[in-house]
């Protein structure tokens, strides 16, 4: 029972961080909140015993996507 409450709290945090990524001011902050969302999603996948998916989500969402987004934002700023 206790574990299910923790999982439910995790799901609520995922929704909150997804809303935060949309609502927060500033591109870089938004990308960082998005990577927090990815990490929380990774934990939820691990909770559901889908370790393969969790590893892919951790590497893509938290690692690669953040780097590519930050580089893209950097390029857009440089052109102005």
């Amino acid at each position: 029972m206790g574990l299910e409450v923790v999982f439910l709290g995790l799901l609520v945090l995922i929704v909150v961080s997804a809303l935060g990524a949309v609502l927060v001011r500033g591109y870089i902050t938004s990308v960082v909140v998005l990577s927090v969302f990815s990490v929380l999603t990774t934990v939820s996948f691990a909770f559901m015993h889908a370790v393969d998916v969790a590893m892919a989500e951790a590497a893509i969402g938290a690692g690669l996507m953040t780097a590519i987004f930050v580089t893209a934002i950097d390029r857009i700023r440089g052109q102005r």
Partner: protein, 236 residues
């Protein structure tokens, strides 16, 4: 809030509510799928010799779908390459201080072992070519951020990465055509005569470790070259 934003928010909320309801309905009532799922999970070790059921489904039962996923990555890498064509492939990232550079240098040896382990043990433990390849691409990004773009470009030629990606995509297709030459289906594993080995040992699973290695190289070089393309500058 503007009118368009409100309309978009209503559409997004309505569609996600519909998807959630449909998922719940299917989860409660169930469908025909469990029979197929049971057959796939119970027969996977006998069919391929790989202990990891997920990898067996991805690279044996449904390897044609994996080829489709790999071609999605191939298409996106090619599109990014077209968008940044004519630009110098070397970015102007200056790199970080000596403390960060040294510690990243020491860490990178461990960081390199992780993707190699993930790819080599893809048929034994969670993970596989995709996860390991992405980790390797992240290592490339970490080294670029720490050491700067110019030393990285001399160590890893960014235009070589595109070629490596295309060659490994070709390698995946060639591995698939072995099955056709043996008279069975495309991307066949045990049916094409690949040895199953002892389930649980490092050399088992027939074609699966080979495909894992090919996908690892392909994903690492493809995603790495996307990053290098984003870093590059318009040529003058």
């Amino acid at each position: 809030m503007k009118m368009g934003h409100a309309a978009a928010a209503i559409i997004a909320l309505a569609s996600s509510a519909a998807v959630l309801t449909l998922t719940l309905v299917f989860a409660v009532t169930g469908g025909e799928a469990p029979q197929l799922a049971g057959a796939m999970t119970s027969g996977s070790v006998a069919a391929s010799g790989s202990v990891n059921v997920v990898t067996t489904i991805l690279l044996d039962f449904r390897s044609l779908d994996t080829l489709g996923e790999a071609s999605v990555i191939f298409a996106s890498v090619a599109c990014v390459g077209v968008l940044f064509r004519g630009s110098r492939r070397i970015g102007t990232e200056p790199g970080l201080g000596v403390l960060v550079r040294r510690s990243v240098g020491y860490l990178s040896a461990l960081f390199l072992l992780f993707p190699l382990y993930i790819v080599a043990h893809g048929h034994l433990s969670p993970g596989g070519g995709f996860q390991g390849g992405v980790s390797l691409a992240v290592l490339l990004i970490l080294l670029t951020v720490a050491y700067g773009s110019r030393p990285m470009a001399t160590a890893v030629d960014p235009s070589r990465l595109h070629m490596t990606e295309s060659l490994s995509a070709l390698g995946f297709l060639m591995a698939g055509f072995v099955g056709v030459l043996q008279g069975t289906s495309f991307l066949a594993n045990a049916a094409a005569g690949f040895p199953r080995g002892v389930p649980g040992s490092l050399l088992s699973g027939g074609l699966i470790p080979v495909l894992n290695a090919i996908i690892g190289v392909k994903v690492a070089s493809g995603l790495g070259s996307i990053f290098f393309d984003f870093q590059s500058e318009r040529g003058e």
